[in-house]
């Protein structure tokens, strides 16, 4: 228990001392997770929306698959990306293994199903509202997806933030594909795992609290930018 207090104290100490390594790791965490978030959003928001407006035969099955993919174990994703990017793998020549790029790829795979699934759910509601109008206006599939994303952007925020949360807290996959190499691919979560393994729980907790603070900060910023709560619906 006292360890938890020690962790909080450690977090303050770390922030206070503005440790250079810490800043480096924190910035890298943010860069990797935000890049993954942007890429995953660009894929998953339109895809989830598209799924909400399309009716096809295996739709129910497709949605189940999407939901099941939310449960992709990070370690397995890490492993597959590792095998694909390793020297002997098909993309070995690119030399991406153990780089932040590899970590981003793994995170995109992990968070895209989550974002797409939440998007799909949020968009079904809006689509049932807009359905008749958009069809009547003779819009193309593309335009429908566009209109839904535009007008549902506030509700899509939760999807994106859930994705970000999963990315910033994830460790299993990026450990495998990033390798937790000091100064290169070490991020907050892998550092936490490392300190835990070393038995330095206070430091691990300190880093954890910093991560949560960071996450809170990103959330507040995004909320402020989008003024989600400003005036109820719309």
């Amino acid at each position: 228990m006292s360890e938890i207090w020690a962790g909080i104290a450690e977090a303050f100490r770390l922030i206070w001392s503005l440790d250079e390594d810490l800043i480096d790791i924190t910035v890298r965490s943010l860069k990797v997770s935000l890049t993954a978030l942007v890429i995953a959003s660009m894929l998953a928001l339109p895809f989830g929306t598209w799924l909400a407006i399309r009716r096809f035969r295996y739709r129910r099955f497709a949605i189940s698959v999407l939901n099941a993919l939310m449960g992709l174990p990070p370690v397995v994703v890490g492993l597959i990306v590792y095998l694909l990017l390793s020297r002997s793998g098909p993309f070995g020549v690119l030399g991406l293994l153990f780089t932040p790029t590899a970590m981003i790829i793994a995170q995109v795979i992990i968070i895209s199903p989550l974002i797409a699934s939440i998007t799909h759910q949020a968009m079904r509601e809006l689509w049932s509202e807009y359905h008749d109008l958009l069809i009547s206006l003779n819009t193309s599939k593309r335009q429908r997806v566009g209109a839904l994303i535009r007008d549902g952007r506030r509700t899509l925020l939760t999807a994106a933030l859930a994705g970000f949360g999963r990315a910033i807290g994830e460790v299993g996959a990026i450990m495998i594909v990033g390798g937790n190499i000091d100064q290169v691919t070490r991020v907050l979560t892998t550092a936490i795992a490392l300190e835990t393994g070393k038995g330095d729980f206070a430091l691990a907790l300190g880093l954890g609290f910093i991560l949560i603070t960071l996450s809170l900060f990103v959330n507040l910023t995004i909320h402020a930018l989008s003024r989600t709560e400003s005036e109820g619906r719309w």
């Binding site: 020297r87 153990f98 390798g179 190499i181 490392l194 070393k198 038995g199």
Partner: protein, 246 residues
């Protein structure tokens, strides 16, 4: 049941898979293994969450006993560390006379080297070898990769990066992703790796199963254990050498 914290390298060797059934058979004792980093194993012992630990980091172990967390330290067996690297062996480690020489070759050649970087017994051993070779890892540049991970994960990294790494023989033999890696150097007495068994002190934590821990300890130093440990082989190679004094 008894809870025993062990290091990843011990578990990766596969020895536990033959030891635990034998223990169960002989003593009727169910041993639950917690596979964690050395530091974490010691912390679990300090918190009284396990009944005994089996690790390989002499300095830390002695401190553990000195601080009153452990009853005593009982050496059980040893294996050795080895240096593994790309089969092309650019630093010509294979031709080294001593482990110090091997480390120096790697440093001079600036060949990719993967370090556990996790304060584990293996990592501490590696650091001591660097300093014996009059090298300071803090000054190493791009080629020295501190991956901060367990033995298996570090081996995976080495395999993917085609780098050199110091590993314990057991983990190496049991490792399934050797890729282009090859055992290049072994046998120096400096690479000796002693495993010790430390029961957690019942004075400190009344709930620990001291009797069971004692029973297990007696079994671990028995001829029966000796026979099992010494005859545990992978690919015809023995992994551990029993060296407990009865």
């Amino acid at each position: 049941t008894l809870r025993l914290a062990v290091t990843t390298s011990f578990n990766n060797s596969g020895l536990s898979d033959v030891l635990l059934p034998a223990i169960h058979q002989d003593l009727g004792l169910e041993v639950r293994l917690l596979v964690v980093g050395t530091g974490q194993a010691i912390r679990l012992g300090q918190a009284g969450d396990v009944d005994a630990i089996l690790v390989h980091s002499k300095v830390a172990e002695e401190a553990f006993v000195a601080a009153g967390y452990g009853v005593h330290r009982r050496e059980i067996m040893y294996n050795d560390f080895i240096i593994v690297g790309p089969s092309a062996d650019p630093a010509r480690v294979g031709a080294a006379e001593t482990v110090i020489d091997a480390f120096q070759r790697i440093a001079v050649n600036q060949s990719t080297f993967i370090s556990r970087g996790d304060d584990s017994g293996t990592h501490k051993k590696e650091l001591s070898l660097w300093s014996a070779a009059q090298q300071d890892p803090a000054t190493f540049v791009f080629w020295y990769k501190s991956v901060g991970a367990g033995m298996g994960a570090s081996l995976n990294s080495a395999s993917a990066m085609d780098g050199y790494i110091m590993a314990d023989r057991a983990s190496w033999l049991n490792f399934g992703n050797k890729g282009n890696l090859k055992l290049l150097f072994a046998g120096d007495s400096k690479l000796f790796n002693q495993y010790a068994y430390l029961p957690v002190s019942p004075d400190r934590y009344a709930h620990v199963k001291a009797r069971a821990a004692q029973v297990l300890e007696n079994w671990l130093v028995s001829p029966r254990a000796k026979q099992i440990i010494n005859s545990y082989k992978i690919g015809g190679e023995a992994l551990f050498v029993f060296n407990a004094r009865p």
